[in-house]
Amino acid sequence: MKKIISLAEAGRLITDSSSIMVGGFLRCGTPARLIDEILKNTAGNLTLIANDTCVPEHDRGKLIVNKRVKKVIAAHIGTNPETGKQFNAGELEVELVPMGTLVERIRAGGAGLGGVLTPTGIGTTVAENKKVVEIDGRKFLFEKPLKADFALIYGTKADKFGNVFLSGTTRNFNTVMATAAETVIVEPEELCDEPLHPDEITIPGIFVDYVAV
């Protein structure tokens, strides 16, 4: 059985200078209540790893607005003007990573791989200071694995074994991030009394440490 904790307890687990992966694509499939709990505490200097920094008014976007983040690793920051503003002012470090590379780096981190070789970014500034490997005449960029202290995961449904079902397009980065962090916290919309049917499990409970409700 996984540890079922309150959202408030989960929020307190995130301490200063933690690195956090947060699932979600804009507002879809993101653990919004967990973010609100982090904001109730004082944790700052966070490294935020996410697809995007959402919008200023919602979930991980609020972490940026409230200046809790010192570094962002993301594919897109354009929907949250505050991210660009803090970056241009030198207050926030931003590492922009192609979306397909970001997801594969996280996968490598979670799957025990030493990195990824991708054609994406060859001939661009993304390739600066990175190893280029030629395989069968085609150039690939070596990209390092990515891990984090915490992964904050959205779930449509979860059970007490930590199994998670994700509906619609809420899967996005949640599935892969759940594999790549030291401590994985799921915020389900619904915690089911009965175990989920094995057929409907998107994230197997082995990856999950806490279910926060």
Partner: protein, 221 residues
């Protein structure tokens, strides 16, 4: 000839919509490229892939609120078509990077004679990030750029991109309100011209050399 922004976008989206084949899987970028979906001929069956994890994107779902569990890559709630599938970002980029997507339509800040594309950053000014664009241009079988011919009179089609690249040598076709231009190994081949503009106007508003064939066609939106 002065066209409004809306007129330009409509001409471009309508013309791009004629570029596809039956059964094509297409990933559209945000903004103007998204409008292409509105003009696909009714007898043509194509499948729209959305990089956030949906194959078989339908229409905007006007009944949904901000908490919809089915959205497109712009975060807008959408319906699904029969045969649609949901998947995570890993699978989405396996489709995109792995060459399983037939065509992508993206906007651009600059495109040059060698098919280099810049569309993700203006250093110090505009830093949205590349999102999935770098993977899309590398992985899609065909890369179509849909953009207004100039940025307030400043050519977007240039000899060499001066902005940081999204990818090198991946663009296949450029569609603007003024012209349809193919990127070839010899350079930029002018295929079609909008009869609202003269050839001289098109050449003057292009910052790169255009190869003008004898068989220049009219751009029909």
């Amino acid at each position: 000839m002065e066209l409004t922004k809306e007129q330009c976008r409509e001409i471009i989206a309508k013309r791009v919509a004629k570029e596809f084949n039956e059964g094509d899987v297409i990933t559209l970028g945000i903004g103007l490229p998204t409008e292409v979906a509105n003009y696909i001929p009714h007898n043509l069956h194509v499948i729209f892939q959305s990089e956030n994890g949906l194959l078989g994107v339908g229409h905007r779902d006007l009944s949904a609120d901000g908490s919809s569990k089915v959205t497109n890559a712009g975060g807008i709630a959408v319906t699904t078509k029969p045969g649609a599938a949901f998947f995570d970002s890993l699978t989405s980029f396996t489709m995109i990077r792995g060459g399983h997507v037939d065509a992508t339509v993206l906007g651009a800040l600059q495109v040059d004679e060698q098919g280099n594309l810049a569309n993700w950053i203006i250093p110090g000014k505009f830093v949205p990030g590349m999102g999935g664009a770098m993977d899309l241009v590398v992985g899609a079988k065909r890369v179509i750029i849909a953009m207004e011919h100039t940025n307030k009179g400043e050519p977007r089609i240039v000899k060499r991109c001066t902005l940081p690249l999204t990818a090198a040598g991946e663009v296949d076709l450029i569609v603007t309100e003024r012209a349809v231009i193919e990127v070839t190994s010899q350079g930029l081949l002018l295929k079609e011209i909008n009869p609202l503009f003269s050839l001289d106007e098109v050449i003057a508003s292009t910052g790169a050399h255009l190869i003008v064939p004898d068989s220049l066609q009219n751009l029909v939106a």
